[in-house]
């Protein structure tokens, strides 16, 4: 790819393109997996290792993230006969994937291991529901939670809505504008055989769905699913022997916080999210800017999160996120499609990892849509984005993933095709 002008900063330029994502894998996205998180994680990790063309003995590092709802790396490694030189299981959700990819780069750089698998395994529908109902809603309220859960302010949608509502107030963002995110992602999912929700929905469908908590309608919220996802990271040098075109990591930003991460609403403007800070690390590290990006993976736990992040990472002017997500830009065939798998709103919920997997496949020019396979096993993409058709982005060279834990915390990554 033609490299864009370098932004001069103190960022670690020597790490640009030094590491690569060499394998990706997942289970199916279901409601009712009928399997333990250990079994789900094992199959996802195995699929990612096979995708990389590796064997168990080639992997010696493992990272995972979870929130008390999953298994741990030593069990997955044990099941697959992987002998680890490094592992770490961390607490966390949607800001983890990109942050852990940065950690994997760091531990390989430090000489602690050579190839790292990152996984997220969860029964987000059938066991610990990600929307917060069931067991999670009944936990005793103690200590700092007395300032939140005691007010019926507990689920992600409830906790984030102050930000969403204030963005509407500050900038005139409308419900119809953000509903366009669901419409776009559902169109993408209709071309994704793996997606849990494949039906296309309209802006009107979103606005007609029931209110969960204002400003969120049911269809502004993501799907709860059971699944596991995994990715394999190694040095770009080792990736030369891989089965796929190399997908190189340009730069990462991990778990960047607004001031007062404990109660970020103490700092304003509350309609600004952590991306405002993360972008000051991401773009200089990657040596590219928003205008260089061909496809985005802006976290869509809610329609609003996609919009807020695209805005604060600079894909449009501050306050114009509603316009950006509703003018066709983020749809397949638009100038910069977002979440071409259907994302968390439609494909399945994996706390961010499936959006990275999708962009890896986009950069390989080998996204798994319904286009026919050629004799070489690669798809012959039609770039016809009508329902049931293609979802490969044409000439896809550079991607950005924008992970989200909450308005006050986010992670991000830029990847490029070699």
């Amino acid at each position: 790819m033609p490299l864009p002008a370098q932004i001069d900063t103190s960022s670690p330029k020597h790490l640009r393109d030094k590491y690569a994502i060499i394998g990706v894998g997942e289970t199916s996205y279901t409601r009712g997996s009928g399997r333990s998180t250990r079994a789900l994680g094992t199959w996802a990790v195995r699929n990612a290792i096979e995708d990389a063309g590796l064997r168990a003995g080639d992997v010696d590092g493992m990272l995972s993230y979870q929130s008390g709802d999953s298994t741990f790396a030593p069990f997955i490694a044990g099941d697959l006969g992987i002998r680890l030189n490094f592992y770490m299981d961390v607490f966390g959700g949607g800001s983890s994937t990109e942050a852990l990819i940065g950690m994997a780069m760091g531990v390989i750089e430090a000489g602690m291991c050579k190839t790292v698998v990152i996984f997220r395994a969860m029964n987000g529908y059938s066991q610990v529901r990600i929307g917060g109902t069931g067991a999670r809603s009944a936990v005793p309220v103690t200590g700092d939670m007395l300032h939140s859960r005691a007010y019926g302010w507990q689920s992600a949608g409830q906790l984030f809505s102050f930000t969403f509502m204030r963005h509407m107030y500050d900038f005139g963002t409308t419900p119809a504008q953000v509903a366009a995110v669901r419409a776009a992602h559902s169109a993408h999912a209709s071309n994704n055989p793996k997606a849990y929700y494949k039906k296309r929905v309209s802006v009107e469908d979103v606005l007609a769905s029931r209110i969960i908590c204002k400003p969120l309608h049911l269809l502004d919220c993501c799907v709860e699913t059971d699944n596991a996802t995994a990715i394999v990271i190694s040095s770009a040098e080792r990736a030369r022997d891989g089965r796929h075109p190399r997908v190189l990591i340009r730069g990462v930003a991990g778990r960047v916080c607004k001031p007062r991460a404990d109660m970020h609403y103490q700092h304003g403007p509350i309609s600004t999210v952590a991306g405002k800070y993360a972008r000051e690390i991401l773009w200089p590290n990657a040596g590219v800017g928003p205008e260089d990006i061909d496809v985005t993976g802006s976290y869509d736990a809610f329609t609003f999160t996609t919009m807020l992040q695209l805005e604060d990472y600079g894909f449009c002017k501050k306050g114009e996120g509603g316009q950006y997500v509703s003018d066709g830009s983020i749809r397949l065939g638009g100038r910069r499609p977002n979440n071409t798998s259907g994302g968390h709103l439609c494909e399945g919920y994996t706390h961010g990892m499936n959006m990275v997997i999708e962009n890896v496949r986009q950069l390989r020019h080998d996204v798994d849509d319904s286009c026919p396979l050629g004799a070489d096993g690669k798809r012959r993409h039609s770039y016809d984005y009508r329902e049931g058709g293609c979802r490969q982005v044409e000439r896809c060279e550079v991607s950005a993933n924008l992970g989200w834990a909450m308005p006050g915390t986010g992670s991000a990554m830029v990847m490029r095709r070699d």
């Binding site: 200590g143 007395l146 005691a150 507990q154 107030y169 908590c213 001031p259 109660m263």
Partner: protein
């Protein structure tokens, strides 16, 4: 000493080692809102913290703070996820800018205190009141008694002042 109580069927507790929250809710139980003020930089903070988030100061004392302010943002919950709140939908969760220390230490900051919209007696507000409140609504603090040493600070419409026209979610 730790506190164990029940509110709307929810178990609430404060551990005996959680000195900051024990002190905060003890003042609330006396219907007297107090926040920590830093002895180094003289700034208030919310919610209770161990050190001063503005200057890392170690020492703080509890001072009375007027419970008045304006709604900065809100959510109106129609689908409660906690069993305790299912009978009370729709209910409001308010983020309120206190008048005290508003715009300090920087223009972007305020003491933003969370609470439900409640009646002056501290019960979750009925639908007619919920429909009157939005961004800008002037509110005053009241308390919901839970147990000895534990009351929740809450918000009710301040009828003693002329209300601005609130901003409400546009589908209303």
């Amino acid at each position: 000493m730790s506190i164990r109580a029940e509110y709307l069927g929810m178990p609430l507790s404060i551990d005996e080692l959680d000195g900051e929250n024990l002190a905060f809710f003890q003042h609330c139980a006396a219907h007297d809102f107090h926040l920590q003020v830093c002895e180094s930089c003289n700034l208030l903070r919310y919610p209770p913290t161990t050190a001063c988030p503005w200057c890392m100061g170690q020492r703080a004392r509890w001072v009375a703070v007027e419970g008045k302010g304006a709604v900065h943002s809100y959510t109106e919950v129609h689908h409660a996820i906690q069993p305790a709140f299912k009978a009370s939908t729709p209910y409001l969760v308010l983020l309120v800018d206190l008048d005290t220390q508003n715009g300090k230490p920087s223009a972007e900051e305020a003491l933003r205190v969370v609470g439900n919209l409640v009646t002056p007696e501290g019960k979750l507000a009925a639908a007619e009141a919920v429909a009157r409140v939005g961004i800008g609504t002037r509110v005053r603090m009241v308390f919901t008694d839970v147990a000895p040493g534990l009351a929740l600070p809450q918000w009710t419409i301040d009828d003693s002042v002329e209300q601005p026209k609130p901003w409400r979610y546009p589908q209303d």
